[in-house]
């Protein structure tokens, strides 16, 4: 049996929005359903990728797992223990186990703090290390872990004196100080230059292997997800619509949304200049305040038939070991797309 570090069941996060007076008197509510019932689990020592367009709820999911947001429904288990509604001391202990690397390394550090102070803060909050010397030793060890060598040189610098890549290394080192089990990385490389992006991912992978960490890697970029992760979940409008290992999801995807995403990705290959890109999808992503009935992808799906919007929402089903998807017509989709149906420029 694989050891599940975190398990999420039917997790929901609905944000209330403005309602009309008549709705107020009737006691009705309007919600933006940012995360609308998702279930997944992450195994110990794996890198789990959560992929989707902006507004699909991937960052909200990350925040729910960090417990920065209180879920509206569903539950979460960390190491088999229910952590859905923990508070105060328990929450503090939880945060030692689950840490986050933020997207913007320029905004996630106080510009008036030296790296030493930035790094020392979590140790003070969690009362780790007896005195300053002990804490400095821990910080130096963490900086060595992320290859910021020599550590004493970086300790006295301010964040603005570091490059984007170095900052993201320092941010990673800061999370490592607390010995977390799970790291939530929300777009950790999207603000970093291409030439150093691979270096940061490489470093994160090395740290993960050395320390036996588990990552939840949140990104919009399928190409890096394929290289970096062990499993990928694709989200659309608050739901997971396909999940599996990267080879299955990218080379043998079945859900029409995943297929459209893959078709839209640019590849550095010659000879595509004079042809339009073919992306089998219609329109734009609808608002999460007004989710279409039935399969929520049907208004944009070139393969949709009446059953897609008349019957209730399709649930995740397994087609082969570990490869799940939520599409009723997946057999036809694979067949029809092979014959070129639904493909438009």
């Amino acid at each position: 049996m694989t050891d599940k570090i975190i398990e999420v069941k039917d997790l929901q996060k609905w944000f209330p929005i403005r309602r009309s007076i008549s709705q107020f008197f009737k006691g009705e509510h309007n919600y933006v359903k940012a995360v609308d019932g998702i279930s997944f689990s992450i195994n110990r020592g794996e890198i789990f990728g959560l992929v989707g367009e902006s507004g699909c709820g991937k960052t909200t999911t990350g925040k729910l797992i960090m417990k920065l947001l209180e879920p509206t429904g569903g539950n979460m288990l960390l190491n088999g223990k229910d952590v859905t509604h923990i508070e105060k001391d328990e929450l503090k202990r939880y945060r030692r186990n689950v840490q986050m690397i933020f997207q913007d390394p320029y905004a996630s550090m106080n510009p008036r703090f030296k790296i030493r102070d930035v790094m020392e803060e979590p140790l003070i909050i969690h009362k780790l290390g007896e005195d300053r010397d002990a804490r400095m030793k821990m910080i130096e060890k963490a900086l060595r872990e992320v290859k910021l060598n020599p550590p004493d040189e970086f300790l006295v610098r301010y964040p603005h004196m570091l490059s984007g890549g170095q900052r993201q290394r320092a941010a990673t080192a800061r999370t490592l100080l607390l010995n977390p089990e799970l790291l939530v990385a929300d777009e950790p490389v999207s603000m970093i230059d291409l030439s150093t992006r691979a270096e940061i991912l490489h470093m994160m992978k090395e740290v993960q292997r050395d320390l036996g960490l588990t990552y939840l890697y949140i990104t919009h970029d399928l190409s890096t997800a394929r290289y970096f992760t062990d499993r990928i979940a694709v989200m659309y409008l608050g739901k997971i619509i396909e999940i599996g290992d990267p080879d299955d999801v990218i080379d043998n995807s079945v859900h029409p949304y995943t297929r459209a995403l893959i078709a839209a990705v640019c590849e550095p290959v010659a000879g595509k200049v004079n042809k339009p890109k073919i992306v089998p999808i219609k329109g734009e992503i609808p608002s999460a305040a007004n989710i279409p009935p039935g399969c929520r992808f049907h208004p944009r799906c070139p393969y949709a038939k009446a059953e897609c919007w008349e019957k209730e929402e399709p649930q995740l089903q397994e087609i082969e070991d570990g490869h799940l998807h939520a599409c009723r017509r997946w057999k036809e989709v694979v067949e029809e797309s092979r014959n070129g149906v639904g493909i438009k420029g």
Partner: protein, 323 residues
Amino acid sequence: MDNILTVDNLKLYYYTSKGVVKAADDISFFLKKGETLGLVGESGCGKTTTGFALLKMPTPPGKIAGGKIVVDGIDITPLRENEMRRNIRWEKISMVFQGAMNTLTPVYTIGKQMMETLQEHREMERDEARKRIEKYLNLVGLSGDIVKRYPHELSGGMKQRIAIATALFLEPKVIICDEPTTALDVIVQAQIINLLKDLKEKLDLSFIFITHDLATEAEVSDRIAVMYAGKIVEIGTNQQIYGEQGPCHPYTRNLLAATPRLHAKVSELSFIPGAPPDLLEPPSGCRFHPRCTLAMDKCKEEEPPLIEIEEEHMVACWRCEKR
């Protein structure tokens, strides 16, 4: 073939209190009619600076320190600011700025903002102006009644389309697009790329497409110029850069290897160690030598010139030989 734009030894320097930053140094290239030229490079390599220089709009403390820009047969280098404004900018050459979709004023309708641009440049009856706005909105795939809407009612892709329509308004010959797809989702990105390709064909436009992403460049650009630390290090056709033989300059080769590919299973992505240099004190000789694995003594001492190694393929590297 005609060149719609020729740039010779263009220099744009930033005169800061710490010294002179040579952000674009000796840039030379040409743009053929009906062609898309890509400008690629990492942040700080001078690609956006070059874009602004072509409009003669350097951001202070920047100044154009030399060189010659010829747009549609007119040498714009000696022109004064009001002549640039009246006859060149948006009339001959226009730009879709980076993050242009976020420059729309939230308090005015789209129509009002577009009208303002138009009336600033041309004396035109309101009705005629309205017709023209509608024509260009339709051209970028939006319906005419969008003029009554406010920016917050539109999606990122729609706002980007409006920015493109505004750049097209006065029928320029050359359009500079600075990272037009960067802040958008992949699917919207693909739609915008298709739109640009479509416009290029319909209106016989020439584009300069600035981005940091070699993968996007492969989809849109006929020729690609790679910049590093304020210099062009390689220019080649799409086939020469992305084809089987691949690029020649070690920087381009490494950058291409660091670009993740969706349909190729790689266990390790390569990367370029180190960081781009500080342009206040650029390295001696070839500016890439401190990060280059092929560097030899000559690279540290002498700066390599941009030489032609095969037809249309220019490289600035001592290690590259004629093909």
